[in-house]
Amino acid sequence: MAATLVEKIFSRKCGRPVRAGEVIMAPVDAAMIHDITGPLAVQKFREMNGRKVFDPKKIVLLFDHQIPADSLPAAENHVFLRKFAIEQKIENLDIKEGICHQVVMEKGRASPGEIIVGADSHTCMYGAAGAFSTGIGSTDMGFVLKFGALYFRVPETIRLDIHGDFPRRVGAKDLILALAGKIGADGATYQALEFAGETMHRMGMPGRMTCCNMAVEMGAKVGIVPPDNETWEYLKTRRKGTTPFALESDHDAAFSSRHRFDVSTLSPKVATPHNVDQVVDVGKVAGTHIDQVFIGSCTNGRFEDLAEAAEVLGNRSFHDDIRVLIIPASRAEYLKAIRKGIVEQFVAAGALVEAPCCGPCMGGAFGLLAPGEVSLSTSNRNFKGRQGSAESFVYLCSPATAAASAIRGEITDPREV
């Protein structure tokens, strides 16, 4: 019987045909915890009488939200998790590697057909590697730490067939913002969003990660791209001994809905305060005053994102009245940017380039906004108070739009600079 990609992942795991809507206790291939949700997960694990974690090798532990420790409570949380890692013999990447989702991907911890959970909502990003991966809370994670398995309701799939070539300075972020505007903040609740079609097939892993990362902004359980050569190439050096196999939705699978989307006429998009689905063409908000520009996050902090911003910047400087924060998503991406001279270019232009972490997107660490201030950000959420005061404003955009706007000192169409 015809099946979706996600149904096939659960079917492979269970050794029998599994259909959307079924509720099953499935073993997980990896579990990720970080400094914010980790301490509570460990506490819940212990309250559940957990003594030994199910498999220390399947747990990814790192700190990215409040690093280096920005307060005493944060420092204490870090110590608490370091002790837990030693006690349970879990490898602790600590503050060294970067944002959890980027690190899971680049360390090859997510692979096609796997089932992965993370105590962070943007865990839905590893679908870019063809895995079923989803965000869970700390209590569910406590359960996973003890049993290595969790109840899943196998989701229905919304299939998106993406076609066409992106126009100049329009890319994956504009696509996913456009889709968020179309589908809505709860349009994919409890479902999988499958990104397929020739445009996705031609898109590199960074763009796929950007798209899958924001699936949760439409309520989706996972964003997933059918694995292809690009996926297997990406994993070749990161996951030794991985053998490619076919994994895709059958053409006659039962999708809950199916949409075709052409990117060839797409304009740069901006999500306006305070909801991710309030999306407009950049022209509609061009000229809007901004105080801070943030280029980074698990959505858009990869080398390719930084290079996109650097291409727009050229040898110009950022506007004097704007604070520009640039934060690579990981140590590996940071190094690539340093070696290509991009970090020097940003610093020379007037930006602050910070070490890899979640930065202002966490809304509690640094780079916060005062009442009335406006941020233009390449991250994934523009909720009220997301980057500081509940009376501040966050607009979301692509790295190209962020760079163009940082040069002009106001929201600017990247095709015009």
């Binding site: 795991k13 269970c14 050794g15 029998r16 599994v18 509720v23 099953i24 206790m25 499935a26 073993p27 914010i36 949700t37 301490p39 509570l40 506490q43 819940k44 309250e47 559940m48 009488n49 199910f54 939200h65 409040q66 307060s71 944060a74 204490e76 105590a119 962070d120 909502s121 865990t123 965000g135 869970i136 809370g137 700390s138 209590t139 569910d140 406590g142 359960f143 003890k146 049993f147 290595g148 398995a149 309701r153 903040a185 709860d186 609740t189 949760v216 309520g219 359980k221 909801n275 966490m362 809304g363 509690g364 916060l368 959420r381 909720f383 009220k384 108070g385 997301r386 005061s389 509940a390």
Partner: protein
């Protein structure tokens, strides 16, 4: 029990802002609930009060601080037209009951409200509003009082592969 009425797309940053995520104590978290978005809530919420909201309540982050901040203030039920997925699971896991009610918009802020869980409705202003039952697999967790109590005495679980872990 009074009703605290909210609109659509109430996100977890609104329920508890990011700067309080190093806190795990329910009562302290409750003192910051809706800080910056609804000033009268944290000061006045009482044990047994009910939150009523529109669509997509709890969207955004997986932070369990959000349902804890609500239950820490004495709330046991949230009635909404719909819930975001992670928040829904988190709420059940910590013993806070998310109840789907397609007519939640009709219930007024400040109204008295009684939840008739087993009978499948809530009552406010002499009107009854149907609520959907919690899905079967989560009912057991609800009946245990949350996932911790459900899991505490389990030594292993049987997975779909047939193996026990």
């Amino acid at each position: 029990m009074r009703t605290w009425k909210f609109g659509d797309n109430i996100d977890t940053d609104a329920i508890v802002p990011g700067r309080y995520l190093t806190i795990y104590d329910p009562v302290t978290l409750a003192s910051h609930a809706f800080e910056g978005t609804r000033a009268d809530y944290a000061k006045n919420v009482k044990k047994g009060d009910v939150i009523v909201a529109g669509r997509n309540f709890g969207c955004g982050s997986s932070r369990e601080h959000a349902p804890i901040a609500l239950s820490g203030g004495g709330v046991r039920f949230i009635i909404a037209r719909s819930f975001a997925r992670i928040f829904y699971r988190n709420a059940i896991n910590v013993g806070l009951l998310p109840l789907v009610c397609s007519d939640a918009d009709e219930i007024a802020d400040g109204a008295d409200l009684v939840v008739h869980m087993n009978e499948g409705y809530v009552e406010s202003g002499r009107k009854k509003y149907a609520i959907e039952p919690v899905p079967g697999f989560l009912k057991e967790i609800v009946d245990s009082g949350g996932l911790v109590d459900y899991a505490r005495n389990l030594e292993e679980v049987e997975t779909c592969t047939g193996s026990r872990s």
